[in-house]
Assembly symmetry: C2
Homo-oligomer: 405 residues x 2
């Protein structure tokens, strides 16, 4: 039983957070530096972008949590600290400055940056902002931290869940950012997850990998696999459940909680994709293998033409067939069935790979809603998958036509 | 020596063409039916989309030219004749109606359709339009045919070249269409090429495959591999050169001519991509293998973020590095060099994988032009490749937000 509760990264026991404007960004009303700190040392695990070009903070975080331990997260927005000559040095400096301010070790830190690639990061504002950042640490600080990591996001992303392990109530919370440069393969975004569950870092990593594959890796805003993406989980153990050290029933419960939280985050990120006006979710069933199901769902979600049609509330299902056809996996086109679904209803538009007559009026009513489900049945097996994306709009172009200035 | 000359598919000896409005489209000022006919039987070759979902006309054309022979092309725009129950039957009917009107065999025809997927094609307008289409066949008819195959294209695409084989002057001409749903892998478009060169159909196919790989397959407008794409070549032999039956010097000249014509078409199609305001060409050099060069160039051209930056004339080179990083091939990020070039000048923006100081003013002057070259040196080998694309604009979204209505 996983239940959503209020709050974010500070919902679990032992975590404090804060977020301030330190001056990396010019706009003084936009927070740009976030901190999350655990009272106790945590088991930690993370997954990162698969892009060969990756941010310097990733190098540093990888080293810092190689021992499966961490205590804090420091993250700035505005500058990605990627493709700079002295990036690693600067990311290490961020850790040691924060460590000094908190009386921790530099290697206790998960460090992350998000923003423009290729511009050097200025350490001065971070140095100057740290005293305020530390003094504002609070059990209600999750929202401020969530705000500070946003770039082109229009809504703050923070969620929390509650679940029980061996009679002990555990909590798990998360903040995330991600709006553009989002595409499957652990691209996508920054997400920091905290929990007071007691779980060994190896099991934590295993749970994370299981969940990421079906959630963050099935999200695409624009097909661009980013350079800085990181999902990190810190588990404080303060819920005092029996420590999870193997794949037992508690592990499964933990995975369910992580999966529920991740799916929620992914859907909110998809809906808040750059310029997006709606969430588009493609649910594939009847696939011969899981790989086919995933590749098919992703191809539909990634198609610029499908995305533009969704923006226009146009039931142009031919583009969905087209995307399935180039997904690079073996499907039997003549068995494919396509439906559109939303709060406005459900409608069958294609059966056995060919069009069926349908009411354009009803289709319009369905597609003008802001959460659209494209249901694809391949009628060829037992596997399914979901992929998450959004529509392609004028505003995506506007936002990205001149992001740096 | 390959020289561009005026004209299109009717430039070579023995070819006539025409284009009329027959009524598949509602807009009476838009021609929608095209015909190309050779005086003599031709050697023929074609390549098609790799999409598993492909148009019925492709099935029929494949059968018709299985013997390496063809004499005519019939093509409509407005409806793709794809994903319909009776598509093959209708495509065959198009051939037999045209054959009757011209006193040819149905199997003499290359047949193609382009437009909306999944709507049944109405044969009546084609039947009714054929008498006029045949009566208007002319040696000056290339332009009308080029117009008739356009969908969202804003400019007619027709070009011709002249070259010499064994002292005989040969000509080669082409018309093409393609604006959206264009992406590497012989997706892309319709292109009909005629030549009076005398060349065996096997050699013709070999030449076509060589050329397609570096031209049409390196073009991407929107990442969507279309369902109906076809490049077909008809060679009448009327230039009376010694028949090309193996890969000799004449074959090489023929390939050069085909390559020059194809590159021209691809660039014009890229620049006329849906909503595009400019041609964006990525030239990669210094790659360890040709595969790496091609994959790198394609990744840059396909990135929505790079495309949007080009629209905004924003020298956001970090997005180019990002795209190179997820291209799926092995590159040494620390060796990468990036420049922008156009009529406005040339500027170095990234060296050894990190940013260099540059004049934003000059970068702007370069990027506001309508033909932009992104020059990438991987400094890691001897191979190069070019990929062709365009910027991502408001109008792409507008055009595709409601294409069907």
């Amino acid at each position: 039983m996983v239940k959503f509760i209020n709050g974010g990264v500070t919902a679990p026991k032992g975590f404090k957070a804060s977020g301030v404007h330190c001056g990396i960004r010019k706009n003084k009303t936009k927070k740009d530096l976030a901190l999350i700190v655990s009272e106790k040392e945590c088991d930690a695990a993370a997954v990162y972008t698969q892009n060969l070009v990756y941010g310097a903070p990733i190098t540093v975080t990888r080293n810092n949590i190689a021992d499966g331990k961490a205590r804090a997260v420091i993250c700035n927005s505005g500058i990605a600290n990627t493709c700079n000559a002295d990036g690693v040095e600067k990311a290490e400096l961020m850790c040691s400055l924060a460590a000094d301010a908190l009386n921790l070790k530099p290697t206790d830190f998960v460090v992350a940056s998000t923003g423009v690639i290729g511009k050097p990061i200025d350490i001065e504002p971070i140095k100057n902002g740290l005293p305020q950042l530390v003094s504002e640490l609070s059990e209600n600080g999750s929202s401020d931290a969530a705000e500070a990591i946003m770039t082109t996001d229009t809504v703050k992303k923070e969620f929390a869940v509650e679940f029980t392990l061996g009679g002990k109530v555990c909590k798990m919370g998360a903040i995330s950012k991600g709006s553009g440069m989002i595409h499957p393969n652990m691209a996508t975004m920054l997400c920091f997850i905290t929990t007071d569950a007691n779980i060994d870092s190896k099991m934590l990593k295993s749970a994370l990998l299981e969940v990421v594959d079906d959630s963050f890796n099935m999200l695409s805003i624009d097909g661009d696999t980013s350079t800085n993406d990181t999902v990190a989980v810190l588990a404080s153990g303060m819920a005092e459940n029996e420590r999870i050290t193997n794949k037992n029933a508690d592990y499964d419960t933990f995975v369910s909680a992580l999966a529920a939280l991740s799916e929620k985050l992914v859907k909110v990120m998809a809906k808040d994709g750059e310029g997006a006006t709606k969430l588009v979710e493609c649910q594939v069933e009847g696939a011969k293998t899981e790989e086919i199901a995933k590749a098919s769902a992703k191809a539909v979600i990634c198609s610029s033409l499908v995305k533009a049609a969704m923006f226009g509330a146009d039931a142009n299902w031919g583009r969905i067939l087209c995307a399935l056809g180039y997904a690079g996996v073996e499907i039997d086109v003549n068995k494919v069935e396509v439906r559109f679904k939303s709060e406005g209803g459900e409608i069958l538009v294609c059966q056995n790979g060919v069009g069926v007559e349908f009411s354009e009026e009803l289709a319009k009513e369905i597609l003008v809603k802001d959460e659209i489900y494209i249901l694809v049945n391949l009628n060829d097996g037992e596997f399914g998958a979901k992929a998450y994306g959004c529509d392609l709009t004028y505003d995506y172009v506007k936002i990205n036509g001149d992001y740096r200035t």
